[in-house]
Structure formats: structure tokens, C-alpha cells
């Protein structure tokens, strides 16, 4: 958006550029700090005057191998657990939300609007409110201490994903539906032949966003997982950090980097989709 009256060159541009650089530097500083600290030897990292120069390659390798080979805390296992839960959850969310969104977007039926509003309202329910009853519910099902509470609910759709997909479906021209209907397709046919293929980008966004959500989730695993073998990276990181005695910050940062890297890489790779996906939810539908 070019502001009218703004000169394309000159001081305004410089100021903008400087501000942008400053903001980007501030925003990225924690990530860089984490990465650099994870590459320093302990003496340097724990020293207040250690500075921000990464250590040698050997130091970096030593840190990361210490984290990965820690005998008390099994990060590779936690990585695997988190990955497993995330994939199961993402598969579930994508399938169920696509189906539910179709019901909200394409089928004209009474009760569609009120139920949609109800669905939006569920985004307002704070987790601590349902945390205890869910805990009890899952206990009755004997699911506490398993992965099930963390991915099964995803197979029933998530309000956010359904919302996003509904908005997207509504941009697909109805003429395509009509054409398919003339060819003899019912709703299922339209869904599979027209809507689904055209909405792949949106499905990708839904998958990515939910993957990020599950990967980063802390309170859920904290409450529903008991056995240390099942921990996710979020719990493993917290466990690693709260050992009695010293906190080896270089190692903790290495562990953090291991947890952060996949999601950050995914984001960098699909950032345009991420950003577009988030922005579509903000606009009134």
C-alpha cells in the first residue's frame, strides 16, 4: 500500500528501512541467542562476559551430542513421540475439518449459521476450564498415560481449522458445483471432485498450523502424560531445564534448538502459506 504523498526515495525510505532492520533484529535476537549459545562451550556460555561469538565446531558437536546422548533424558525418543503425535493429529484435523467445513460452507441448511457461531464460540473456552474434566474423562477411558488424549480429539475437527477452510471454500465459485451436479454428482462427489482438489493450499495451511500447535503444546502433555518414556519435546525441555543444581545453559539451548528447528524450518519453507492462512482468518467472512 503506497501512501499517497510519500516520496519513493529519500529520508522516509531510509527511516523505514532502518526501523525494519531494527525490528527484525530485535525479533530474531532470541532465536540467534539460542543458536549461538548452543554452540558455545560451557565455560563461555555460563560466563556473563562470554559474548555472542559461537565456539568451535567441536564445541557445538559436543553440546548437541551431550543432549542427544543424555542417559537420563532421551531426546531422540521425545522427538519421535512428538512427531508421532503431531502426524496423527494433523492427519485427523485435516480430514475432519475438511468434511465439517463443507457442511458449513456448501450445504444450505437451517441451523447452519447458529451452529457456526457456536463453533466460533468454542474457541473462547480456555483450556484450564476443561482441563480437569477432560482429565477425568480420559481417566475413565484409561487414556491417561497414553498418547490418545493428545491426538484423538483432533480427529473431530478443530474450530480454527474449520473456520479457515469454510472461508476458503466460500471463495470457490458455485458454478463449478453446479457443473458437477449436472454431471450427476451428489454432495460427496462435489466434495471429492471439486472442493478437495481446489482447496489443497488451504489444507496445507491447516495442516501446517495444526502441526505447529501440537508440536509446541505443553499443557496438554503435562497433564495427560505420566510416563517419562512418553514425554514430548516440550516436557523433555522443561525436565532438562529444571534439574537440581546447575543449569548448563549451553546444553539447554542446544536442546531448545533441537525442539525449535523442525517447526522453524517448516515455517521458513512454507512461510507464505502460513502468513496467508493466518490472514484469511482475520477478515470477516
Amino acid at each position: 500500500m503506497i501512501e499517497p504523498g510519500m516520496k519513493p526515495n529519500g529520508p522516509a525510505r531510509m527511516v523505514t528501512w532502518l526501523l525494519l532492520a531494527l525490528c527484525a533484529a530485535i525479533a530474531l535476537f532470541p532465536v540467534l541467542y539460542m543458536a549461538i549459545l548452543s554452540m558455545q562451550p560451557a565455560a563461555q556460555a555460563m560466563n556473563a562476559d562470554g559474548g555472542l561469538v559461537p565456539g568451535s565446531l567441536a564445541d557445538t558437536a559436543a553440546n548437541y551430542s551431550a543432549v542427544v546422548n543424555d542417559d537420563a533424558i532421551n531426546f531422540p525418543l521425545y522427538f519421535r513421540n512428538t512427531l508421532l503425535i503431531a502426524m496423527l493429529a494433523v492427519a485427523g484435523v485435516v480430514c475432519s475439518s475438511a468434511i465439517a467445513a463443507y457442511g458449513f460452507a456448501r450445504v444450505r441448511w437451517r441451523g447452519r449459521q447458529p451452529l457456526f457461531i457456536v463453533m466460533l464460540a468454542t474457541m473462547m473456552v480456555p483450556f484450564p476450564v476443561v482441563m480437569v474434566p477432560l482429565f477425568v474423562l480420559f481417566r475413565e477411558l484409561d487414556w491417561i498415560g497414553t498418547f490418545l488424549p493428545l491426538w484423538v480429539p483432533a480427529w473431530f475437527g478443530s474450530a480454527f481449522s474449520i473456520f479457515l477452510l469454510r472461508q476458503f471454500y466460500m471463495t470457490i465459485p458455485r458454478e463449478l458445483d453446479d457443473a458437477a451436479r449436472i454431471d450427476g454428482c451428489g454432495h460427496v462427489g462435489i466434495f471429492l471432485r471439486i472442493i478437495l482438489p481446489l482447496s489443497l493450499p488451504a489444507l496445507l495451511v491447516v495442516g501446517l498450523l495444526h502441526f505447529m500447535y501440537v508440536w509446541n503444546d505443553f499443557l496438554g502433555p503435562l497433564v495427560f502424560l505420566t510416563h517419562r518414556d512418553q514425554y514430548t519435546l516440550a516436557l523433555g525441555l522443561e525436565l532438562y531445564m529444571s534439574r537440581l543444581g546447575t543449569t548448563p545453559w549451553n546444553l539447554v539451548m542446544a536442546a531448545s534448538t533441537i525442539m525449535v528447528a523442525p517447526v522453524l524450518l517448516l515455517f521458513l519453507f512454507a512461510q507464505r502459506s502460513f502468513l496467508e492462512g493466518i490472514s484469511t482468518t482475520g477478515l470477516k467472512g
Binding site: 500500500m1 510519500m6 532465536v31 556473563a48 441448511w109 522443561e238 531448545s256 525442539m259 525449535v260 515455517f267
Partner: protein
């Protein structure tokens, strides 16, 4: 025909409907039931009427948690709103490497809060932390961030500024939709850049502002992970928020009934305040195409 369509509609949304019933309605109802009981989770729940609610009204810790949560809301939401709008305005101007700036500013929001809180815990460390080191370069004696209530709360609020990403992106999209001719007309009339921002741009995106404020409010009211990792609720309960009391009551003190009561009150408060925000929105928000 109509009834058939209703059934079809319901069939299509059945995955969500089932999940809604089991994982939202049922727990909410259970929570409400348990809020009227005395329950340790290891034995059957005993109904005790309004006792939990009465206790809640007089509970000093509830007062502290409410105060902390409200303080946090009142300070951080306007701050976040201003920051994210400012960032969006900044990023909407054409500039070299625009995509890179956007990605850079959005990146921290992608990180797990656990990791971010861990990093910030180190950054705020009075001895080793980058915060105080940076301040010392400018000649300021950095405070002991986790030593007093005020500074600890400040630390947590400041940390939020790093996760403006999602809100900022939504504002970016909204800014793109502001009709250019309005701004052109205003500048032709001699309105300054600031005047244009306040009188044209902001009202144009006010529905989106309301949306983000509501979402921000709902998230902020549930804050848990960051204080849990960074301060543990201290010092002297200075960063002890409502959600932490729910967690403690349930799993530290074994008082599930009271934890449910706290949860129900939290939900009701969020609901009421959201409605309040929507009502305020009616007055101040300008809907371009009329009310949707």
C-alpha cells in the same frame, strides 16, 4: 426437502458435532457439576452446594490472581495492539526485502512457548542475561528481573511483544483492503500522515482491531506456560495468574472441586468480558458495508 438438507448438513458436520459434544460440552457440564462438589479425585465427589463459590469470594489468593490477570490484560493487550498495528503499518510500506522482514518478525511466534520462555528466562537472568548486558552498554543498571513483582510482571509482558506475529499478519491483510482513494482524498486535503492514520486507516480496519483484541484477550486470560517456566508464579505471587491457580488447586493441593469452580468462573468472566468488548465494538467500530 428442507428436512433432508438439515440432515445432510448435520451429517457433514458430524465429526465436529461429536467432538464438540464429547470434548467441549461434556467437560463444561462436568466442570460445572464438580464446581459444586468437594473432590480429591481419589474418592467420589461429595456435593457441597455453594461452598466453593463462597470460598472463592473470600479467597485472598483469588484476589491476587484476579488482580494479576487483570493487570496483565489491561497492560499487555493495548501494548500488543499498538505494537502489532505499528509493525503492520511499517511492513505495509514498500521496502527492499519486504518478505524477509515479515518472516523475521513472524518467526518468534512459530516457536514453542516452552522454548521461548526458556530463552527469555536466560535473557532476563540478572547475572548472565543479555537484557541487563544490553542495558549496561547504554549505561543503565539492569534490574533484578525476577526479584520483584513489578519487574517480573514487566518481564512477562515485554516477552509478549515478540509474538505479535499472527496479529500483525492479520492487520497487514486488513490494511491492504483499505480503499486507496480515501487516503488520497485526505492527503489532498492536507491531512498529515498521522492524521490520515488516525482518521482514515484505523477506522477502516476497526473490525479487525476488534477481532484481534478479542482473540488477544481470550489468549491472555489463559496465560500459563510463560509464567510457569519463567517465574513459577513468584516472587511473592507477583506473577501468579488465574490459570496457575486452577492448575495448582487441581494437581498440587488435590482440590478438584475448587479447581473446577475456578475454571467455571474463569469461563464466565471471559464470556462476559468478550460480550462487553463486542458491545463496546458496536459503538466504536465502523463497518464499511454496514453490520454483517
Amino acid at each position: 426437502m428442507k428436512r433432508f438438507r438439515t440432515l445432510t448438513g448435520l451429517a457433514w458436520i458430524s465429526p465436529w458435532l461429536l467432538g464438540f459434544a464429547c470434548f467441549t460440552m461434556l467437560p463444561l457440564a462436568m466442570g460445572m457439576w464438580y464446581s459444586f462438589t468437594d473432590w480429591t479425585l481419589l474418592e467420589p465427589a461429595i456435593p457441597i452446594g455453594m461452598d466453593n463459590y463462597q470460598r472463592l469470594l473470600g479467597d485472598e489468593v483469588v484476589h491476587i490472581a484476579t488482580w494479576n490477570t487483570l493487570l496483565y490484560l489491561v497492560i499487555s493487550i493495548p501494548l500488543l495492539t499498538v505494537a502489532s498495528i505499528a509493525m503492520a503499518v511499517l511492513l505495509s510500506k514498500p521496502a527492499r526485502f519486504q518478505a524477509f522482514w515479515r518472516v523475521a518478525v513472524f518467526a518468534p511466534s512459530v516457536l514453542p512457548l516452552v522454548a521461548l520462555a526458556t530463552i527469555f528466562k536466560l535473557m532476563y537472568d540478572a547475572e548472565l542475561g543479555a537484557m541487563n548486558k544490553g542495558l549496561s552498554y547504554v549505561g543503565i543498571d539492569g534490574p533484578n528481573w525476577f526479584g520483584t513483582e513489578a519487574w517480573a510482571m514487566t518481564a512477562i509482558i515485554l516477552m509478549n511483544l515478540w509474538v505479535v506475529g499472527p496479529a500483525m499478519v492479520i492487520y497487514l491483510a486488513a490494511l491492504r483492503d483499505v480503499p486507496r482513494d480515501l487516503n488520497e482524498a485526505a492527503s489532498l486535503d492536507g491531512v498529515s500522515w498521522w492524521g490520515r492514520l488516525v482518521n482514515v486507516t484505523l477506522p477502516m480496519i476497526s473490525p479487525v482491531i476488534l477481532f484481534n483484541v478479542i482473540i488477544g484477550f481470550i489468549n491472555a486470560a489463559q496465560v500459563f506456560v510463560v509464567p510457569y517456566i519463567m517465574t513459577g508464579g513468584g516472587p511473592n505471587r507477583g506473577t501468579y495468574f488465574w490459570s496457575m491457580y486452577v492448575y495448582d488447586a487441581a494437581f498440587k493441593y488435590g482440590d478438584m472441586g475448587y479447581a473446577s469452580t475456578l475454571g467455571v468462573v474463569q469461563f464466565a468472566a471471559i464470556l462476559l468480558l468478550t460480550l462487553g468488548l463486542l458491545l463496546v465494538g458496536r459503538r466504536y467500530v465502523y463497518y464499511r458495508g454496514g453490520m454483517t
